[in-house]
Symmetry: C2
Subunit: 212 residues, 2 copies
């Protein structure tokens, strides 16, 4: 079982997250039971793919009956580690960082910003979305105080590596990296890059292909 | 050959984009020849993976010699469709949209915003990063005028589907979608979702795994 879980790909987990998003929406419409085909109508996956993805974690569905919505939502939340509040911090409060602090999609999945840091004296002390921007030198204390293990990194490319190293020293184990650089960090730290330039290039490639 | 290209995965193309980013950086350091292992030191891929990815598009390297940097950069740019300026538009100029307009990583890969749209009367007429925000009703005219085929969608979830349909009617063939919804569009339109909530959940999952 252990080995199986470790070999699960990012793509599978991304789909699991999309299932959660989608099934939560359905649950708000007071559906109590859903079928794989209802899910697959909502997303661009086949019912088989949905069943297969869930089967990695022990399926909850019954053939011909479907899935009970509430237990399924809880199950998916637990898989993803968002069944209770996850505290996160932001480092780098520029235009993108400020937008991320205000992004409603985090809180709706139980992620809560507890602190934000920058090294710009003009920004320090300001409050954005109820979060006071603090000097980057106070990071360690706050990370320990709030018991945070996930950080969002939105600093300029030049400083990303050194700031990321500081985060790791402070105990951070997962970094969502918006800086367009490949971070070089210890193996036990998980880095997920969100590079908008890269995504646009991927879009550029495939949007041409569909025209061929 | 045709079939081969069509079956290339998003993950491969994402790596190709990362190679381009990385090799451009190396080229600024006046390197004229690079080896697969130099690339692989910069990124978290093996030299074999790098050679394999490039081989889909006809390799330019020589065994034991390496790759000439300048032709390789041009080759990768051509694959990704960024060898000449790609005009893009933004729809939805909220906090995230404004940050995207100012994002330096787009222009450095030949993507240039030529217009931005919103339906909020308070925003229309304002200028951000040299781009005047226009009424969404003027979209069609501008898209035709500037011959745009790629759009960034940063509107609230509720309006994303209807705005996306309008974009498609206006001739847009690729959408980078920041709204947390699954868009339902014709098959010949390519949608790439960037959902920050989903990415954080993926990070949450894997950052726990590395601790096991």
């Amino acid at each position: 079982m252990r080995k199986k879980i470790e070999s699960i790909s990012q793509e599978t987990i991304r789909r699991i997250a999309l299932y959660l998003r989608s099934i939560r929406k359905l649950s708000r419409q007071n559906l109590t039971i859903i079928s794989s085909s209802q899910i697959s109508n909502h997303l661009s996956v086949t019912p088989d793919q949905f069943r297969k993805d869930l089967s990695y974690f022990g399926s909850l569905g019954k053939p011909g009956v479907g899935y009970k919505v509430e237990p399924l939502v809880k199950h998916l939340e637990k898989i993803l580690g968002v069944d209770s509040e996850r505290r996160i911090i932001l480092v780098g409060v520029g235009k993108l960082g400020s937008a991320l602090l205000a992004y409603p999609g985090f809180l709706s999945f139980n992620f809560r910003f507890v602190a934000a840091f920058d090294n710009d004296a003009e920004k320090i002390g300001k409050v954005i979305q109820g979060i006071k921007i603090q000097d980057i030198s106070k990071m360690r204390k706050k990370i320990l105080h709030f018991d945070v293990d996930l950080a969002i990194l939105a600093v300029p490319a030049e400083s990303a590596q050194s700031v990321a190293e500081k985060l790791v020293e402070c105990g951070i184990r997962g970094i969502l990296n918006f800086a367009p650089v490949n971070l070089n960090l210890p193996q036990d730290v998980y880095v997920l890059d969100v590079d908008m330039g890269t995504e646009l290039m991927v879009l550029s490639y495939f949007s041409r292909r569909v025209l061929l």
